[in-house]
Amino acid sequence: MLLSEKNAMTEEIEELCSNYGSYRESLLPILNDIQLRFGYVSEFAQQEIARVLDIHPVEVYGVVTFYSFLSPKRLGKYIIRLCRTISCDMAEKSSIARVLERELGIRFGETTSDMKFSLEYTNCLGMCDESPAMLINEQVFTKLTPHRVAEIIRKYK
């Protein structure tokens, strides 16, 4: 990480802390915002958050690794999360999965080399009546068909 990037991160974290308050209960809101803005919560970010909240960095690491939407590893700009739970599974989620892998040229759990897309599975998105469903960042897409998925990916590319 460049020094200028580090400074920008520190500034961002300090600002979030002054918005949410420097309390332990602000940890998850801060982490959610950092994740959304940078696509991951880097080791440096974890240390800085620990410093401003005055808690041990291990506490921050423990929380980051507990929640599936927080990542200590850098992910792509667009994180695609396909639901693999039962109702989507029965609605041919596996054909959607194949289209995603083919269109992006990566497997589930991987990130494209241009850092644009990450592909992951997730559990029930609460869209079972419109299955199969997926998220791209916070945006939800339902009633997916192979054709529609390819269209959606093209728009994001």
């Binding site: 939407f69 029965m90 998220l135 916070e138």
Partner: protein, 390 residues
């Protein structure tokens, strides 16, 4: 899509003027009305809401909190999404009435990370409520101060469990606490806290406006009122249905136009699987109890792969804190894979059923206690199918 049928309990033309009338009532009157209605929690466990609120109201503390559980992670459940989308005024009024009833000044909505796309709309609505003085200080001149803040989850099913939810709100890993003490005595930062489901709060708003007797005119004596069901899987009309408690599975299948049904999963992955022979069972707390999830399987479905899907869910979502759940779920999944490969003896299956029963007794929280339900019910009812093809 809003609720598909009926809409008696959750009318699309909800009259939001009831709030001012309701806030003129004393906290005791509100609690009395809710107790009279016999409302039980809609999140799955079915604890009587009036009793919970009474306990929190009786607790002596300098602060109290109301938490609306919008974590909705149970596979096959999506009725809270519909309530938050199309019936938000009822949910917010219900939370406010909860605050009034127990003497809290602050409410939270714990919204699952998957529903982040709703966040902007929810925040705008709350801001509008504040500008109309329907939230904030001295609400509508009644002398009652109450605000609501939204807390976003980050993708963890266990955070729907009320004590794990509170841990998460406090900025920790979502690991369930030992209970007792219950949140009504020691909840958010050890202050008395009521945690209720989205649908429970929406139901409160209706009960206060239409009265306990009206509410009790629906349903059964042990399960008064109506319930939202989230129906998905093999049917022509999936969606959210408003049904009176006591409706049986057969009637429900007709309502949603399901054909050639082989089995119905009631209560999501942590619920039970009912075979055809049990389709006269009723949806109610005393019989087939559900937080709202109904998943339908037709004759083409392989019940072992259904079970595998559920079991993978639990292995993934266990918080890992206690052994029966962390290791037990893994063992059950291994067993399912063994069956799949035709390598599992009937006697080993019996051992796994025993393991499941131990998990029900020895796990620390509801996740591990209910995780084996699917395994036990599917293996019991579909043993022939599962083994004959392998």
């Amino acid at each position: 899509m809003p609720i598909i049928n009926n809409k008696e309990l959750f009318p699309t033309d909800y009259n939001d003027r009831i709030l001012i009338e309701a806030l003129k009532k004393t906290p005791q009157d509100i609690i009395y009305e809710i107790r009279e209605s016999g409302l039980k929690g809609r999140g799955g466990a079915g604890f009587p809401t009036g009793t919970k609120w009474n306990l929190a109201s009786a607790a002596v503390a300098e602060k109290k909190f109301v938490v609306c559980n919008a974590d909705e992670g149970e596979p096959g459940t999506f009725k809270d999404r519909v309530l938050l989308t199309d019936y938000l005024p009822m949910v917010i009024d219900g939370i406010t009435l909860g605050g009034r009833a127990i003497g809290a000044q602050k409410g939270y909505i714990y919204l699952r990370g998957e529903y982040r796309y709703m966040l902007g709309r929810l925040e705008n609505y709350i801001a509008q409520m504040i500008s109309e003085n329907r939230l904030g200080n001295n609400i509508l001149g009644t002398g009652f101060d109450f605000t609501i803040e939204i807390r976003l989850g980050a993708g963890a099913y266990i955070c729907g469990e009320e004590s794990a939810l509170i841990e998460s709100m406090e900025g920790h890993r979502g690991e369930a606490r030992n209970r007792p003490p219950f949140p009504v005595n020691r909840g958010y930062f050890c202050y008395p806290t009521i945690v209720n489901n989205v649908e429970t709060f929406a139901s409160v708003a209706v009960i206060i406006s239409k009265g306990a007797d009206w509410f009790k005119s629906f349903g059964t004596s042990k399960s008064p009122g109506k319930k939202l069901l989230s129906v998905s899987g093999d049917c022509r009309k999936p969606g959210v249905y408003e049904v009176p408690f006591g409706i049986n599975v057969k009637e429900l299948l007709k309502l949603v136009d399901a054909r050639k049904t082989k089995a119905v999963q009631i209560g999501g992955a942590s619920g039970y699987c009912l075979p055809r022979s049990q389709f006269d069972r009723t949806i109610s707390f005393e019989d087939a109890s559900t937080g709202g999830s109904v998943i339908i399987f037709n004759q083409t479905r392989d019940m072992l792969s259904v079970l595998k899907n559920f079991q993978e869910f639990f292995v993934e979502e266990s918080c890992g804190q206690c052994t029966p759940c962390r290791v037990g779920n893994k063992k059950l999944l291994d067993g399912v894979e063994k069956i799949e490969q035709g390598e599992c003896s009937i006697s080993y299956i019996r051992e796994l059923m025993d393991l499941g029963r131990s998990m029900q007794m020895a796990s620390k929280c509801g996740l591990g206690q209910s995780a084996p339900n699917s395994f036990i019910s599917i293996v019991t009812h579909f043993e022939n199918e599962i083994f004959s093809s392998r």
